[in-house]
Structure formats: C-alpha cells, structure tokens
C-alpha cells in the first residue's frame, strides 16, 4: 500500500487555503515553464503593439521624425508596463498569455488581486527580468514554496493554474450493464466490507490509468491486483473467474465497490 500512498502525493506545488468557515481547499500553483510561455506570448503581443504604434506615429510625424521618435520611445516604455498592470488589474489577474495558458494571478489569501498589487508586481519586473530572460525571477520561483517571483513576494500575489474542469464523467464500471459478481451477493458484500479505502482507490486508479500504462506493466499490475483480491479478500468461484480477464475482474470489483448498492437484486 505504501506505493499507492507515494503516487498520491501532489506532483505540483499547491496553496492550501483555510476559509473562516473551516473549509480547506487547494489551489494548484503555476510552475516556471508555463509562466515563461505566457510571458513569451505576452512579449510578442507587446512587441506587435509597439511596432503598430511605431508605424502609426512614423506615418503621422513624417515631417517631424524627432517628435515621432520621442513618442515612440515613450510609448514603447509605457506599453511595456501598462500591458501587464492594466490587464491584470481589469481582467481579474489575467493577461492574454495567462488566459491562453489558464493562469491567473491572485492574492495570497485566495482572493482576487487588487489593482495596486497588479501594478507593483509588474513594476517589479525590472528586477525579476535581470540579468536576462527572467533569470532572477526564475530562481526566485524555484526557491519559493509558493512559486513566487520577487514581484509576487512584494505584492503578496501568486500565480495559480486554472484548467477548466467539468464535473467528472461517469466511470466505466458504472456503465456496465451486467456485473457477474452481483450474482454472488455474499461474496460481493465481503469484498465491500473487507476492502480498505486505500485498496479501493488503488483499484480505481489502476483502471482509470489503463491507457497510461505500458501493456506489459498493465498486465502485471492487473494480474497481481486480481490475484490479491481473489486469494485474500473474496474468493469468487473458479468457474466464474476462469472466464474473466484480470481487467474484467477488476472492473467488476470496482463496480461492486463504487457502484449500485442493490446487492440483493434477484438473479436474472
């Protein structure tokens, strides 16, 4: 069982929030790679905007290139800071890049960030971007428990991942029309009573990750699990088990564990 405990450890950093009502929830934090992609995309947009403004100004100030250059220099500088600060302030912590990569800047307390915080964390980029390619900021993110760059530490913000999630779909074993284990209510009941939550979730995970496992590994894991259930927990009759593949055996077991409660259904 220790192996299954290990795989259940969070693979990524997360922020745990305790609300005043005593509810705990976790927010997955965004890693440096994803954030760098978002920054790159945003930089492309800013560069495009600056060049667009540049052409416009160049065209308007064709007779007085000096004033045009002055405007371009200032606009370039201002857009660099305004882009992040204004968008994050108005769009609840998102820029175009962050939106596309499902990232959002929030306050450390789990609440939306304030406009002031958006400004501070974007002005702090002059430091985080040092000496090139956000090296300082990247090191800061990697060394921080909350994955904060210096701008985030100062502003009290952090970046979370927000993959759009629907309610989970129905699992395969609940769609089963017929579960042969249900013909043996006593054994099914024993399985249900004797299986620990860890064992149940192990079976569930094994089935769910079917397509992530290499065929050989899948065969081995399913064989071992089914063997364990059969010998240690609930010995279903041999003539039934012989007809079932290990996968089908586990699917049936999951159906018993997680599915419909009506074990006492009459035989059909």
């Amino acid at each position: 069982m220790t192996d299954s405990q290990l795989t259940r450890l969070p693979a990524t950093a997360e922020l745990t929030i305790a609300t005043p009502e005593g509810v705990l929830f976790r927010l997955p934090l965004a890693g440096p790679a994803l954030r760098l992609y978002a920054v790159l995309l945003d930089s492309v947009i800013v560069l495009g905007a600056v060049n667009g403004v540049g052409y416009l100004v160049y065209w308007i100030f064709a007779k007085a290139p000096g004033f045009g250059l002055m405007l371009i220099t200032l606009a370039e500088f201002a857009i660099g800071f305004l882009y992040g600060a204004v968008l994050e302030g108005l769009w609840n912590g998102q820029t175009v890049g962050k939106r596309l990569f499902h990232l959002r800047v929030i306050d450390q307390s789990g609440l939306p960030l304030l406009i002031e915080q958006a400004w501070v964390r974007n002005l702090m980029r002059v430091f985080d971007a040092l000496p090139f390619a956000y090296l300082v900021g990247g090191v800061s993110v990697l060394s921080s428990r909350l994955m904060q760059r210096f701008g985030d530490r100062v502003a009290g913000t952090l970046v979370v991942r927000e993959t759009p999630l629907g309610a989970p779909a129905q699992e395969a074993w609940t769609r089963q029309k017929y579960n042969s284990f249900m013909n043996y209510p006593v054994l099914a009941m024993r399985l249900r009573r004797a299986a620990t939550p860890e064992l149940a979730s192990l079976i569930q995970d094994a089935l769910r990750r079917r397509n992530e496992l290499a065929p050989y590994a899948r065969r081995e894991i399913y064989r071992e699990l089914a063997g364990y259930l059969q010998t240690e927990i609930a010995p279903f009759p041999d003539d039934l088990v012989e007809m079932l593949s290990d996968e089908q055996y586990l699917t049936n077991a999951a159906g018993v564990l997680f599915g419909d409660q009506h074990l006492s259904r009459p035989h059909r």
Binding site: V120, F127, P168
Partner: protein, 343 residues
C-alpha cells in the same frame, strides 16, 4: 465504508450546476455586485458545496471530483469575500488625481528612509569629491567619459553650439524621451532593489553619489563651476531628489520585507511603495523635459545666472510641494475627529 460516489454525485450535481451557473453569471457581470437574494443563494450553495468537498476529501476516493469541487469552492469563496471596485470607481478622475497629494503624504510618512538615502549619497559624494581632489589618478577611473574628464573642451563646444546638427527642437524631443526612459528605469531599479534587503539600493545610491561628487569637484577645480551649476541645476534639482526618493522607496521595501509575514498588511503597505514610485516617475518626466529643452542651452543663448535662478526656484517649489501639500499629520486629524465625536 465507502461513500456511494454515484448516488452522491447524482444527488449533489444539481446544486453544483446551480452554483456554477450563478458564478458564471456573476463573473460575467462587469460590476459583480450581488442582489440580496443572489447573495443568500450564493452563501447557501457555497456552504453546501463546501460540505460536499469535505465528504469527498475524507473519503480520498475521487481525485477529479475533489479537484472539481475545490475549484468551485475557491470561485465561490472569492465572490463572497471580495468586492472588486466598480468600473466607475476605477475610472473616476478624482481617484487618479489623488496621487498628487498622496505622494507628498507618503514621502513625509517615510521620511526616515529618505534621510538614509541622502546620507548614503552624501557619503558617496564626499568620497568621489575627495578622490578627485587629492588623487588625480582616480579621475580616469571615476570619470570614464571624456567630456566629464576635460570640461574645458566640452564647455567650448557647447557654448559654440557645435553639438547640434538637426533641427534642434526635434533633437531635444528625442533626447528628452531617452532621458525620461533611462532615468525612470534606473530609479525603478533602485526602488525594486529593496528586495535585496536594501543592499542593492544602497550600492546604487552610493555609486551615483561618487559620480556626482567627482564631476562637481572636477568642474569646479578647472574653473567651470558656474557652467556646471547652470548645466546641471535646472534638471538636477528634480533628477537627484527623485533618485533619492527611489532609494527611499527601496529602503522602505527592504524594511517591509524584513518584517514577519503576519505583521505586514501587504495590500496597504505595498501601495505606499507604489505611490512613491509613481511620484518619482512624474518628477523624472519633468526633469527629462528640462534637461533636453532647457539645460543644454548655454551662455550666449541663456545667461548662466538665469539658468541657476530657474534651478533654485524649481528646488524651492519642489520643497514646498513635498513638505506642505496634502494632509499634514493624518494621525492628528484622526485623533481630533475621535475626540470631537466623543463630545
């Protein structure tokens, strides 16, 4: 032993979808204000969903379901506990004009960090000045640019107006933009370097001071003191204080970060830093304009006495602004209000 997940989901799904729909409607609304019945509904759905999350968490059975519920609870929590400023509040001109009074107020509140910045700069100045005065060999190191080392030639070309090629107003415009950008960048860096516990800020201020002291002594030594004053004062009286204020913001930030996490009210204290930075940026815009359009015009065009007078007048105005504009003592006013309410 095991929560019947299917039945549980089937029972709870309607309220989750309801909460999802309510949240989507709220998040799409620009001012995100709730009416009383919505608030009640949100509160209720939030409590129910939070309880559902608790059940799933204890069972540790369905990671996807748990993630889904966590997201839902997080969104509802944010909506319940946070009222964003409405659009009209964000765009109110009064809110933005407040910066002109908030800046001197913040400056006075944090004046001890300003004093620290001044002390470090003065130390740098003294060192730079003394080095140039007593160790001529140090000139090459401290003043790498030729025009700084040999003021005579520079003054000559400047006064003859030989450094101009294009239509001068346009060159000046370009020059001013460059100056504004460069100066704000440096000042912002000084303010941001507060995160290095103020060490970076101190080094930057010190280096700036050394250069300043060295230039001043070099020009005075060679008898161009008046030229240098007229050249530097009109923009320097804004530029140098704004770098000092950047140092002030940097030290303020360092002090803030050294405090323990629980003791700081991040949102409030961070706006103080922001106000200081915004104020110094405005000062640097003015300094950039003056440096490009005014400071670079020399004796035959503009008499030195006039330029120095303008510089001194600017300094007086800036001092008055920083020391007198805005509320004098916020604490005293609050105390007065409390005592008058008691009567």
């Amino acid at each position: 032993m095991i929560l019947d997940l299917e039945r549980f989901q089937a029972q709870a799904r309607p309220r989750w979808s309801k909460l999802e729909a309510l949240l989507a409607a709220l998040e799409a609304r620009p001012d995100r204000r709730l009416n009383p019945s919505e608030a009640e509904q949100l509160q209720e759905l939030y409590a129910q969903t939070a309880a559902d999350l608790n059940r799933v968490t204890h069972g540790a059975l369905a990671p996807e379901l748990r993630q889904y519920l966590e997201r839902l609870v997080a969104r509802a929590y944010a909506e319940l506990y946070y009222a964003p400023p409405t659009r009209s509040e964000v765009w109110q001109p009064r809110r933005w004009l407040r910066i002109f009074t908030a800046f001197p107020e913040a400056f006075r509140r944090q004046s001890r960090y300003f004093v620290l910045a001044v002390l470090i700069t003065v130390l740098g100045c003294a060192l730079g000045g003394l080095a140039v005065r007593y160790d001529p060999a140090s000139v090459d190191v401290l003043l790498p640019a030729d025009y700084l080392r040999n003021p005579g030639q520079r003054v000559h070309t400047e006064e003859k107006g030989q450094s101009r090629h294009m239509d001068s107003a346009q060159v000046e415009a370009m020059f001013s933009a460059e100056l504004i950008r460069h100066n704000i960048q440096v000042a912002l860096l000084a303010a941001a370097l507060g995160v290095t516990f103020g060490i970076g800020t101190a080094l930057l201020l010190f280096e700036n001071g050394v250069l300043l002291g060295a230039v001043a002594v070099r020009y005075t030594q060679q008898g161009f003191g008046v030229f240098a004053a007229a050249w530097l004062l009109p923009h320097g009286v804004f530029e140098i204080p704004s770098i000092l204020i950047a140092g002030q913001a940097g030290f303020y930030l360092a002090r803030l970060l050294l405090r323990r996490r629980e003791e700081r009210n991040t949102r409030q204290s961070v706006s103080e830093w922001l106000v200081l930075v915004a104020g110094l940026a405005m000062m640097l815009v003015w300094a950039g304009i003056m440096e490009a359009f005014f400071s670079q015009k020399h004796a035959p065009v503009l008499p030195y006495g006039f330029k120095v007078t303008v510089g001194v007048a600017e300094l007086v105005l800036l001092t008055i602004y920083l020391l007198l504009i805005g509320r004098r003592d916020v604490g005293a006013e609050v105390r007065a209000r409390i005592s008058s309410e008691k009567k």
